[in-house]
């Protein structure tokens, strides 16, 4: 009677199962689809049968280890409950709703959703401005006076306020990331250690440690060492010379 089993097999083999559940707008939509496959006239559907089909459908999903949204599971649990109520012999009032009332409520909801789904198709297939029909006309040749009118809409206003709310959520703390750059102090300490042995003029560049850091860090090593060497020259610790503009810089220990 139903092709769900076949659908499942097909879908399973073509790995499109998830897409299939995504195409439903929620548990009631899925139920409605199952109901349509059962009967054309929704007022005559068997709720018991529908409940079984739904539970079966959800179980099959489960077997395939596919994620099922919580509300689909809630509906499955609820339908299991409804099924048991419908199958159990009638008891004295268990709680406020008889199984018939529940059945009726479910039918109503299915029929109402069905009605709105079909009405929404009808509504949206009406000749729509900008899609099917168009305004037009031209005021050429007429005297026209322009009024400035602000066209900002409530949507613009709410969107702007939402932006502010988002910013408030987002920008609460300003954290400054730990810097990986090399400081001048470190470089002075380092150069002092090296310069003890530099009796001859030595190319400054050969004193720069070669690390495979990123460009920025490498540059910081170079510049901190350069500033450090100037600092040391100023203090009379070393000599620095450069023979031409932009030429190599040489350093040696001051005698």
């Amino acid at each position: 009677m139903l092709n769900i089993d076949n659908d499942l097999k097909e879908i399973n083999s073509s790995k499109q199962f998830n897409i299939s559940l995504n195409s439903y707008e929620g548990p009631i939509d899925l139920l409605l689809d199952l109901a349509r496959k059962q009967k054309v006239d929704l007022s005559e559907i068997s709720i018991l049968e529908l409940a079984e089909q739904y539970i079966d459908f959800i179980n099959k999903y489960h077997d395939l280890h596919l994620e099922i949204a919580a509300d689909y599971l809630v509906m499955a649990a609820w339908l299991t409950y409804l099924k048991s109520r419908l199958l159990l012999p009638k008891e004295e009032k268990l709680d406020e709703h008889s199984p018939e009332e529940l059945e009726e409520a479910l039918k109503y909801q299915l029929q109402r959703l069905e009605a709105f789904q079909s009405i929404s198709k009808k509504l949206y297939s009406r000749p729509l401005i900008g899609r099917d029909v168009f305004y037009g006309g031209s005021s050429e040749g007429l005297k026209v006076k322009y009024n400035i009118r602000y066209s900002s809409t409530l949507y613009d206003l709410l969107k702007a306020y939402s932006t502010i709310l988002q910013k408030e959520d987002r920008v609460s703390h300003l954290t400054i990331a730990y810097s990986e750059l090399f400081s001048v102090d470190d470089a002075i300490q380092r150069l002092k250690g090296i310069f003890g042995e530099l009796k001859e003029w030595t190319n400054f560049l050969s004193l720069i440690p070669k690390f495979n850091f990123n460009k920025v860090v490498n540059k910081s090593i170079l510049s901190s060492n350069f500033v450090a060497s100037l600092e040391l020259a100023k203090n009379g610790f070393i000599d620095v010379k450069q023979t031409s503009p932009f030429g190599n810089i040489f350093v040696k220990l001051k005698k």
Partner: protein, 212 residues
């Protein structure tokens, strides 16, 4: 054949303004304002079978191209994003059941409102909030706009297609608390969803004190 000057005036205004014009604005330009009803009906009849038609939506009149040649007018069709199914369903529920709260819409659709459908419909300009429902939490009520009526070529809200039919089937009444399956599921312990507490505007406004 001589054409009445007022006819010409109405025709020209409606043509030149390129958007719906209110009856008051139209009357104001006429020589014999009392003839308005007569003139506009004549004009509407005159264009009935033509390539452009005269339509009344809400309180406004406009010329628009005829629906009968929509397939031939494809040149004007811009690439236009289609509304999602969720959005069209939400729009029609609002149109027929307005004013309506978000949770009432969710009740009918049996699913939590997808992200982006109310804001999207509002961005297009077809819905807006209007008042709040007098129930705990005072949730916002949503209604359709004048632009909705104009864009869908509807005379007025009581003229929505199949409205009587829906009403007769009892689908337009808002059922009381425990009448639908979603209500029952929500009311029972089976509900796994966290209920979002609805704030009133007052809660919301007083919040600013704490945020500083």
């Amino acid at each position: 054949m001589s054409v009445n000057k007022d006819t010409k005036i109405l025709e020209a205004i409606l043509f030149a303004s390129g958007a719906p014009v209110s009856e008051e604005d139209l009357k104001e330009k006429m020589i014999n304002k009392k003839d308005f009803k007569n003139e506009i009906t004549k004009l509407q009849d005159f264009y009935q079978t033509r390539g452009i038609n005269l339509l009344k939506t809400g309180n406004k009149w406009s010329f628009r191209t005829s629906d009968s040649i929509k397939d031939e007018l494809t040149i004007f069709k811009q690439q236009k994003r289609k509304l999602s199914r969720a959005a069209t369903e939400t729009l029609s529920i609002i149109a027929y059941q307005q004013p309506i709260t978000r949770s009432e819409i969710e009740n009918i659709r049996g699913v939590q409102m997808g992200r982006g459908s109310l804001d999207h419909l509002m961005e297009i300009g077809w819905i807006k909030p209007s008042g709040r429902k007098n129930v705990p939490g005072k949730p916002a009520l949503w209604v359709t706009t004048e632009l909705f009526i104009e864009h869908f070529g509807i005379k007025n809200l009581s003229d929505l297609p199949n409205k009587d039919e829906l009403k007769a089937s009892g689908f337009l009444e808002k059922r009381s608390a425990i009448a639908t399956i979603t209500d029952i599921a929500n009311a029972s312990d089976l509900n796994l969803d966290d209920e979002v507490e609805e704030e009133t505007l007052d809660d919301f406004i007083s919040e600013k004190n704490t945020s500083k």
